[in-house]
């Protein structure tokens, strides 16, 4: 630690080596010589628990997830039962009723579940495809990279909405899985590009050379050497994908292209617009789903910013 000449200030070298992929970790710590160096996990946990954005975001999201899980169980009425229509919120119907007389609270909490599910499916699908293609393109480079880049560009250019309308026209029903998968298959390009760029950077690091000198082959190096160094980045990417999938799903649902089976927050808002809730001042129909959706996505994004600060020492405030 004391013997390396890289960097001059002790603070730079004092273990400020977060797993952020593009920063070169400082070469050891003089200050900790002789004393036990805190394990990286413990360090991260400390910063995580003290980061206001992360704590706020995670708490809010946890609360909303709890509502989504427990909501349909504790809801006093079923989503499919009929009551008096267009009732404002009351002790009986916490969020009022819609034009058909369904209890809106039951609808909304079910809708939250669907929105979360679609978001999760979309995120996982995009992450899987994007990472597979990104790592391959980044590691191999050359002609394979060129081809994959072309494919990526084509997918980016395709108008998603038009595609959804056309495909939707040929399907009898659209389910949650379909919507999630579709979203995954149109959002993977930016994941692939980001992963590819990071892979290029990490590929030229000396520990990758050392792995090659140890007789390791490409797949093994990507999975065991490169990907774990991007772990924090990949995690952030998945969180961001989750949020954007939910938002994209809500967009599609609002336009009437959402799942025909089941109800989602976007669907509810779509229905409210179709039945002129805005003009008729039935605010309890469109406001709660909109606010909840905003909260679900915003909490994730705020937590993401906080998480970025936790992982990347350079973003931390003093």
């Amino acid at each position: 630690m004391s013997e390396t000449l890289s960097g001059s200030t002790p603070a730079e070298r004092a273990g400020e080596a977060g797993p952020a992929p593009v920063t070169t970790p400082a070469a050891g710590t003089t200050m900790a010589a002789g004393s036990a160096s805190p394990h990286r996990g413990g360090d991260l946990l400390y910063y995580a628990l003290h980061n206001k954005k992360l704590v706020f975001g995670v708490s809010l999201e946890a609360l909303l997830v709890l509502v989504a899980i427990l909501g349909p169980i504790i809801a006093p009425h079923n989503m499919t039962d009929y009551f008096a229509s267009n009732q404002p919120p009351s002790a009986q119907h916490w969020l009022g009723t819609d034009n058909l007389g369904h209890d809106l609270f039951a609808e909304v909490v079910s809708g939250m579940r669907v929105s979360y599910l679609v978001g999760a499916i979309g995120a996982l699908c995009a992450a899987f495809v994007g990472m597979a293609l990104g790592f391959t393109a980044g590691w191999r480079g050359g002609m394979l990279d060129e081809i994959l880049q072309m494919i990526t560009n084509i997918v980016v250019m395709m108008p998603a909405l038009v595609l959804l309308i056309v495909i939707g026209a040929y399907l009898k029903t659209r389910g949650i899985t379909f919507e999630g998968t579709f979203i995954g298959l149109i959002t993977w390009p930016w994941v692939a590009r980001a992963v590819r760029a990071q892979t290029f950077t990490l590929k030229s690091r000396e520990f990758v050379d050392l792995a090659r000198l140890s007789g390791k082959r490409g797949f093994s190096i990507v999975v065991r050497e490169i990907a774990p160094n991007m772990a924090s980045y990949l995690f952030l990417v998945v969180v961001l994908l989750f949020g954007s999938s939910m938002l994209l799903a809500a967009n599609f649902d609002f336009l009437g292209l959402g799942p025909t089976t089941g109800t989602s927050l976007g669907n509810i808002m779509n229905q409210s617009t179709l039945w002129s809730a805005l003009q008729l001042h039935y605010w309890w129909w469109f406001l709660p789903p909109g606010l909840l959706l905003t909260g679900m996505v915003a909490a994730l994004l705020i937590a993401n910013v906080g998480l970025d600060e936790v992982f990347n020492p350079k973003l931390r405030e003093q």
């Binding site: 000449l5 001059s8 002790p10 004393s35």
Partner: protein, 325 residues
């Protein structure tokens, strides 16, 4: 006296605790003197140099004062130091060659710098061209972007920028480290030339490389674990060092002319102490072959011969050579 540093102590705030890479340091640098500040990584030399001009967020002044040209430097006050930076004290930081913004031409960087100090550019730009010519670079350097210049050229351009306003004190932090041998010589000679021509009054050259200091420095100060170990003229430090650390350090340097089958060089066993919880007493005692019970007390940095100061009990008490008693 051009620069006087009295009992300076600077700490770094870290999660592991406060560490003190500069602990009660006292020295002077005369007008026209190039003082070499030598030591290995982690000894605090860069912190010391930087603290004289710019106290970074985590740095904290614990005590001591700095007087330059009979004027006290308010080093702990960022804003008060602002008018003094570049005009009285200037810094060439480590890896300065990477500090030039790649999106602006050198001439634009220069005019930005001058404007921020309220100096009229025209006369100074002429001076800049003159200085570039002095070191063998043409005026077309000004119209280039930094990535069009090689590492050595960038380093020298950065030194010119830092000394453009003729500061009294230049702190050069590892300016020859990442350079080729021939460029090192050019940079070293450039520092000496600038001092000879009065572009800077005094220079503190921070480096780990004693052989460069033997070429360019008038005096050499050796630092170890946050404290000064030895200070004397360059010639004395290199030919007749008194502090055991300096002696062992010099004995570990390969020189052209030495071969392994004739002389075996040896390094210094062990490692410097942690600066978060340093040992009380002499910090080199753990690795010193001459250490005795007395070394549990910190030796004072005192003058043992005219112009030669050492912090070592063996030297001030006159213990014989030959290891432990």
């Amino acid at each position: 006296m051009s620069l006087k540093v009295e009992n300076l102590s600077v700490a770094y705030r870290m999660r592991a605790g406060d560490c003190c890479p500069v602990d009660g340091v006292t020295f002077t640098v005369a007008d026209g003197e190039i003082m070499g500040l030598a030591g290995e990584s982690g000894c605090g030399k860069s912190t010391l140099g930087n603290s004289l001009i710019f106290m970074e967020g985590r740095m904290k002044l614990l005590g001591g004062r700095v007087v330059l040209d009979r004027q006290e430097l308010p080093i702990a006050d960022f804003r008060a130091m602002q008018p003094l930076r570049m005009t009285k004290v200037s810094l060439v930081p480590q890896y300065a060659m990477n500090a030039l913004s790649p999106t602006r031409r050198i001439s634009k960087l220069t005019t930005d710098l001058l404007r921020s100090h309220g100096v009229r550019e025209d006369s100074v730009l002429e001076e800049m061209k003159r200085r570039l010519r002095l070191i063998g670079l043409g005026p077309d350097v000004l119209s280039k972007y930094s990535f069009e210049l090689s590492g050595g050229m960038r380093q020298r351009v950065t030194i010119i920028l830092s000394t453009l306003l003729n500061p009294s004190l230049l702190i050069a932090d590892e300016v020859t480290s990442a350079l080729d041998v021939s460029t090192q010589r050019a940079v070293g000679e450039m520092l000496m030339e600038f001092r000879d021509r009065g572009f800077v009054k005094s220079v503190i050259a921070i480096t780990h490389d004693l052989s460069i200091l033997a070429q360019i420095a008038d005096t050499i100060t050796v630092m170890y674990a946050g404290r000064l170990a030895e200070k004397a003229d360059a010639g004395t430090v290199v030919k007749a060092p008194l502090h055991p650390y300096t002696q062992m350090l010099l004995a570990s340097l390969p020189e052209v002319g030495l071969r392994h089958d004739q002389t075996t060089l040896t390094g210094i066993p062990g490692r410097p102490p942690s600066l978060v919880s340093p040992p009380s007493g002499c910090r080199f005692a753990g690795r010193c072959p001459f250490a005795r019970a007395q070394c549990a007390q910190a030796p004072p940095f005192e003058e043992v011969a005219p112009g030669h100061r050492v912090a070592c009990w063996k030297v001030s008490r006159g213990w014989p050579e030959g290891g432990r008693v």
